[in-house]
């Protein structure tokens, strides 16, 4: 395969762990290492002439600390005298020296390596694993770096790629990659906070996306805060508890300590999904008289949260600073993303949610999310991901105008297309023979505030009382975003339709503006809508009662009838009054209703009487037959039976 057509891989070159992903069949896929795991330690070991990278290098780290290089990312593109370098030196066992132009170099077995060369070994492993997975040569990559990396650090990362035999198509910021993994590049004018708590470092970044460009507003972090600190808290607790119980210090016994370490790590992971774990390590030590001692204790999620509370709190110092530096209010942050294995901890998720006041994104595996984003960027460059966004959802709500200028939604926004939805509507006035369908797009409650996509008239509706005709309106959007609206009168089967080509081709700005307006005017719109609904209700109650008065009025007591008539009249007048408030309308509707209950009673009586009459009629017929059979009937008996029926 030529260089141009080969796959481009996305690499998350991390301080503690690295991961590789690629676009495959249109979606990102993590490339497993030769050892079968999705991520691998960013550790390089030099053993004689051999270079070992990843999990194997980690397994022999204790044996050869001086020739095993970890956390090399901390030294990328930095000068030896940098404060950050001097702070990190304490945490490593291999030797660092000042190289060309005062830059950091690592001294291994008397040989000098630049951080670029060491990182290149990690990238070479990534390349080799990808080639074996894909079955073809890989020569191009997108590599991620922390948002705070300066030019020199980015340049060094690019060089590392080149040393590894990879043409670096692009250097992408880690928080940007995470945003890409969540598809946030498709949104416009959004502010995103990325909370990244990994194996050994914590980063917080505030980004702004506009016109497809991510801009880093601020970053902060703690270069020595990560998952290992959480493990250590649990280990210390287990050791202390055991000492309290048996007076034995497990940390003094290497075998016991190893078992405690393994148990602590396992417990930490399990407590992300369960509330309590049992730690059972029998025969972990011996008592003073040689008797076996067993470690058996329960660790609850609450206890873990208490133990690690300080660590979690520690992360929010940098978060506050980053927010302050970005000059953006916490409430203005639209999206929050969690990155790094430690963010699986429910307490961290809860604290992040509490701080930002919104649910963070966490669907993509937090260990892999950066590599996934890098692969998506690689896919865009390589043409696997088309820049033309395949429209898979409707950006705005589609609906139609109903009585009183209210917008009634049919297809809510963000509905995946193709889709179809029908609803039955009716007429608003007696003997109405046509209806106008005004197709609307937007989020506002009132029809006039939305965009009209098209309108058409369905006529030939048979004259009938309001509310009687059944008009089925169907909205259908095909996969190309073309909207077909049809209205069908159910009794006659008469139908009208319209096709709207441009239901979805709004620019991002237009969509955003419409959504923003909807939010801005939400309360006002709601009030307006409620007022109209109250007016509509008053109107229809008045109409309905008028109709019933005509029918049953003669059965009512004259006084009651008059009272109802007056109430209905008042209600009608009120509903036509421009400045009638919702409360007035609701109150009047309620009162009219109550007064009309007497009519209801009268109606019921009259209906029952009719039913009785009918029943009597039936019986009469039967009796008639009986009479015929018997020849003669008994009148007094008949009236008595009638009386009984009425009583029922």
């Amino acid at each position: 395969m030529s260089n141009k057509t080969g796959k481009i891989i996305g690499i998350d070159l991390g301080t503690t762990n690295s991961a590789v992903a690629v676009m495959e069949g249109g979606s990102p896929k993590i490339i497993p290492t030769a050892e079968g795991s999705n991520i691998f330690p960013s550790i390089v070991a030099f053993k004689n002439d051999e270079v070992i990278v990843g999990a194997s290098a980690k397994r022999q780290m204790v044996l050869n600390p001086e020739t095993t290089v970890n956390s090399i990312k901390r030294f990328m593109g930095r000068k030896f005298k940098d404060k950050a370098v001097q702070a990190a030196i304490k945490h490593i066992a291999y030797e660092l020296a000042e190289g060309k132009d005062g830059m950091v170099t690592a001294k291994i077995n008397g040989k000098t390596y630049t951080p670029q060369e060491i990182s290149a070994k990690i990238l070479q492993k990534a390349k080799a694993d990808a080639e074996s997975y894909l079955g073809s040569k890989v020569e191009r990559a997108v590599i991620t770096v922390p948002a705070y990396f300066n030019d020199s650090q980015r340049q060094a990362t690019k060089q590392a790629g080149e040393i590894a035999g990879l043409y670096v198509e692009r250097i992408v910021n880690e928080p940007t990659a995470a945003s890409l993994a969540y598809g946030l590049d498709k949104k416009d004018n959004q502010t995103i906070a990325v909370y990244d708590l990994g194996g050994g470092t914590f980063d917080i970044s505030v980004l702004e996306i506009g016109g497809g460009v991510f801009e880093v507003k601020s970053t902060n972090g703690d270069t020595f805060l990560g998952g290992d600190d959480f493990d250590n808290e649990i280990i210390d607790w287990i050791v202390a508890e055991f000492k309290k119980q048996f007076g034995k210090d497990l940390s003094k016994d290497s075998q016991a300590l190893q078992r405690v370490k393994d148990a602590a790590e396992k417990a930490k992971i399990e407590l992300s999904s369960s509330q309590k774990v049992e730690l059972n390590e029998p025969f972990i030590a011996q008592g003073d008289e040689g008797q076996p001692l067993h470690l058996t204790m329960a660790l609850t999620r609450a206890k873990l949260e208490e133990l690690t509370d300080d660590l979690i709190k520690r992360s929010f110092g940098p978060v506050r600073k980053a927010i302050k530096d970005s000059k953006i209010k916490v409430s203005e942050i639209d999206e929050v993303i969690l990155v790094g294995g430690m963010t699986r901890m429910p307490k961290i998720q809860a604290e992040v949610k509490k701080f930002f006041g919104k649910e963070p994104h966490k669907g993509v595996n937090p260990d892999e999310v950066v590599a996934v984003g890098a692969a998506i960027q690689a896919g865009v460059i390589g043409g696997d991901v088309s820049d033309v966004v395949l429209l898979d959802v409707t950006p705005l709500t589609l609906g139609l105008e109903t009585l009183g200028g209210v917008r009634t939604p049919l297809i809510e926004r963000n509905t995946t297309i193709p889709t179809s939805k029908s609803q039955i509507f009716s007429t608003a006035a007696d003997n109405q023979t046509q209806v106008e369908i005004n197709v609307l797009q937007g989020e506002r409650e009132m029809a006039a505030d939305n965009r009209t996509l098209g309108r058409f008239v369905l006529d030939g509706i048979p004259p009938a009382m309001r509310g009687t005709p059944q008009i089925e309106v169907t909205f259908d959007i095909d996969s190309n975003g073309i909207l077909n609206v049809s209205a069908k009168e159910k009794t006659t089967g008469k139908e009208q339709k319209i096709t709207i080509q441009s239901s979805t081709n709004l620019s991002d700005e237009e969509v955003e503006k419409m959504k923003a307006d909807a939010e801005k005017y939400a309360d006002e719109d709601k009030e307006k809508k409620e007022l109209i609904e109250a007016r509509n209700k008053a109107n229809s109650v008045a109409f309905e009662l008028e109709k019933q008065l005509k029918e049953y009025g003669d059965k009512l007591d004259e006084k009651v009838k008059k009272e109802i008539e007056e109430n209905v009249k008042k209600l009608k007048e009120l509903s036509e009054k421009e400045d009638a408030s919702k409360e007035e309308l609701d109150k009047a509707t309620e009162e009219t209703f109550t007064s009309a209950q007497k009519m209801g009673e009268a109606m019921q009586k009259s209906q029952q009487a009719e039913a009785a009459k009918a029943a009597q009629g039936d019986k009469g017929e039967k009796d008639e037959k009986k009479k015929d059979e018997k020849g003669k009937g008994d009148k007094s008996k008949e009236s008595a039976e009638e009386g009984e029926v009425v009583k029922e």
């Binding site: 069949g25 980690k58 397994r59 204790v62 044996l63 073809s136 190893q258 078992r259 029998p282 025969f283």
Partner: protein, 147 residues
């Protein structure tokens, strides 16, 4: 005349456009085909691997109680307990499980992990956690101390 030549230019433009579209489509087709072939290959490999390691997760969950039994036997001299452990091991060996207990051996990167060292040598002086293989593949590295 002018109209005609404009039409010709438009046609030529259209041809170039369509040729480009065709080239892009063919390129995409090749990629999709390659992706598919890789998927089939990988699927086959994964199935073989899956069959070989079908018991892996069950075996892995048994490792801890198995190790605890071993620890018990070291502390308690009991013939019955030893019989239980032997029984247990017989079943596991049939399923392809092997123990890695490299005490006295030279450190081997493929099967071990060093947790501590007591000198400059590479000989395992203590096994702090036993390792295991399943059908020849290491599923838990032995954790060792070397001297």
């Amino acid at each position: 005349m002018i109209k005609k030549s404009t039409k010709k230019t438009t046609n030529n433009k259209k041809i170039v456009e369509l040729q480009q579209q065709l080239a892009d489509s063919l390129e995409r087709e090749k990629r999709v085909l390659a992706d598919y072939q890789n998927l089939v290959k990988r699927n086959r490999e994964e199935r073989i691997k899956f069959l070989q390691l079908a018991n892996q997760s069950l075996v892995e969950t048994l490792l801890s109680p198995l190790e605890h039994l071993g620890l018990a036997a070291e502390q308690i001299e009991d013939q019955g307990l030893n019989m239980v452990i032997r029984d247990f091991w017989q079943v596991l060996e049939e399923a392809g499980v092997e123990e890695i207990y490299p005490k006295g051996e030279k450190f081997d990167l493929e099967t071990m992990e060093v947790t501590d060292k007591k000198g400059d040598g590479e000989t395992v002086i203590k096994v702090v956690r036993r390792g295991y293989r399943l059908n020849g593949q290491v599923i838990q590295h032995a954790k060792v101390i070397v001297k």
